[in-house]
């Protein structure tokens, strides 16, 4: 198997707190791989270990054959890492930041001009080359940070929640850039708490409280669950969601403005569900089958976990 990254039974604790437990996955060269999960899922710990900032307690991690606990410098020179927080120097200009990182990574002087030009081109930061990094807007800061991690042409790009706190338009643009990079053959591993962003990845691992709940392509994960879900569009019943939730066959109800999303038990048929909800509300309702989102999948995965646990 030509895996660029292989993580085997990785575990890491901070004192008594288990950050990651028995995590395994492999990433092939050129993949856009997502670590999906809320805060505290263990995404940052996994990524920091991958870029040799932390040591695994147990298990192994290899990047292009290099061991993260031994070959620190080898891995650091082929990896580009973007921490979760904006971590460039706010009092240095865009250009100074880029050149500083070029020096740290010993980018050959002859190539520097061409690389800067290319990075300015895709980030469209050229007009702001002399602006202080601290004065950039959120989206531009993210693009600058990405540019700095790309200055040494890394084989692997590790991005920790690059779009958290960034507005939707910039998020959109950022993902377009990532797709472009993947097309150029860069392997990218990205973490995000947003389930909707997981759809942009080739493959994902869904993490929760330090464990992997599932992994695969987003479409396959949604497919596998086969959650029966229905929309009830009736602004008059929205505030009576609690009544519907008590109806037999209903697992959960989610309110969306003037619409309710109802998750039914697996195997419930639409007609009988419609009848019982109508009976509970005291008037006719129209249920409309809808496709579950990755967030629905995530929630049912966690519910399954907790059921197993008890």
């Amino acid at each position: 198997m030509d895996a660029l990254i292989s993580v085997e039974h990785f575990s890491k604790s901070y004192g008594s707190q288990k950050a990651v437990q028995d995590l395994s996955f492999e990433i092939r060269g050129g993949e856009l791989f997502g670590l999906i999960g809320p805060d505290g899922a263990g995404k940052t710990t996994t990524m920091r270990t991958l870029v040799t900032l932390l040591r695994p307690d147990s298990g192994t991690m290899h990047v292009q054959g290099f061991d993260v606990s031994k070959d620190i410098r080898n891995i650091r020179s082929i990896t580009g890492y973007m921490p979760q927080r904006f971590s460039l120097y706010p009092d240095l200009s865009v250009d100074q930041n880029l050149r500083f990182f070029a020096d740290l990574f010993a980018v050959p002087k002859k190539e520097l001009a061409a690389r800067l030009e290319r990075l300015y081109h895709f980030s469209r930061l050229q007009p702001f080359a002399n602006r202080l990094a601290g004065r950039l807007s959120g989206g531009m800061k993210q693009k600058l940070a990405l540019s700095c991690t790309l200055i040494h042409n890394p084989v692997l790009l590790v991005l920790d929640e690059p779009t958290t706190g960034v507005d939707p338009v910039s998020r959109n643009e950022f993902w377009n850039i990532l797709r472009e990079l993947r097309a150029q053959g860069v392997t990218i591993i990205v973490s995000t708490p947003y389930m909707d962003e997981a759809l942009f990845c080739d493959r994902i691992v869904i993490m929760h409280e330090g464990r992997a709940l599932a992994q695969g392509t987003p479409a396959a994960l949604i497919e596998q669950m086969q959650l029966p879900m229905y929309a009830l569009r009736d602004s008059d019943v929205v505030m009576r969601f609690a009544v519907i939730e008590q109806t037999p066959g209903v697992v959960s109800v989610q309110t969306f403005g003037d619409t309710l999303h109802i998750t039914a038990e697996i195997g419930t048929d639409e007609a009988s569900l419609t009848r019982s909800i109508a009976a509970a509300l005291g008037h006719d309702v129209v249920l409309e089958p809808i496709a579950p989102s990755l967030e629905d999948v995530f929630i049912s995965l966690i519910e399954k976990e907790t059921r197993h646990a008890t």
Partner: protein
């Protein structure tokens, strides 16, 4: 005839020097609504909210909150509203109960009321066992719910939530929105700012702000129909992406932080 709106603004503007943070904003929100206030960082959301809360004086225009004028009756407004921000204003080094007591004291509740409220709230939040836990060690989802409860301590008729759900897991988030719906079902008005578009889907009605102006206002369903798009995310990118220049004025970073 419609009842008097709970939050009402007409041609509301706020300028900082030459920079216009809020530009000619008009809206009206009815009692019991869940109103979403969308926009990118620096679109003017926080400035607008601060004016509604009586923390900033408008440069021009009219705004009334719960019938009180933001120009002259800021104190009365503060008694009628609840406010919760992204950086939950809880003291991390106080226990859960101490936080509740402290905020009860600030809002002038009597000793008996505070004890009563504290007990009731801990019961509702199922935090009785954690009464003496330091707030710091609560999971994020719990903190968030505690912060909301604290903001509701003095029984306000309007709650302003400034990006309340950043970083929490989907289950906590759904639970949180369940509480928001409960609050609205009790006849209170909820005013939420966010730049997370998935959250926008939960709102009853919403406005999209861009460069200090409201550029779209309506129900999520209606807007999706109007633009023929599937999600609020797409609508937002469609509306703002078109008008987005390559750069924004620098002043944004110094006058807005959320």
């Amino acid at each position: 005839m419609q009842p008097e709106p709970v939050v009402y603004a007409e041609h509301l503007s706020k300028r900082f020097g030459s920079f216009t943070a809020v530009d000619d904003l008009s809206l009206s929100v009815q009692q019991g609504e869940i109103f979403g206030f969308l926009g990118a960082n620096g679109a003017g959301k926080t400035t607008a909210i601060r004016m509604f809360c009586g923390l900033l004086t408008p440069t021009s225009g009219i705004a009334r909150v719960a019938g009180f004028d933001v120009h002259t009756e800021a104190r009365k407004i503060k008694q009628t509203i609840g406010y919760m921000s992204q950086k939950f204003s809880l003291y991390e080094d106080l226990t859960v109960a101490q936080n509740i007591e402290f905020y009860g004291g600030i809002y002038g509740l009597s000793r008996a009321e505070i004890i009563d409220k504290t007990n009731r709230m801990l019961e509702e939040l199922k935090l009785e066992e954690r009464r003496h836990t330091l707030t710091r060690s609560l999971p994020l989802g719990w903190k968030q719910r505690l912060a909301l409860s604290v903001a509701m301590l003095h029984d306000p008729s309007i709650v302003f939530l400034d990006e309340p759900t950043g970083g929490v897991d989907p289950i906590s988030r759904r639970n949180f929105w369940r509480i928001i719906y409960d609050i609205a079902a009790n006849g209170k008005t909820v005013f939420v700012t966010t730049h997370y578009m998935d959250e926008a889907e939960y709102c009853g009605r919403l406005s999209i702000m861009y460069q200090g102006r409201i550029i779209e206002l309506g129900k999520p369903g209606e807007l999706k129909e109007k633009y023929g798009l599937k999600s609020m995310q797409e609508i937002f990118v469609h509306l703002v992406g078109e008008t987005e220049p390559a750069d924004k004025p620098n002043i944004i970073s110094s006058t807005e932080n959320g």
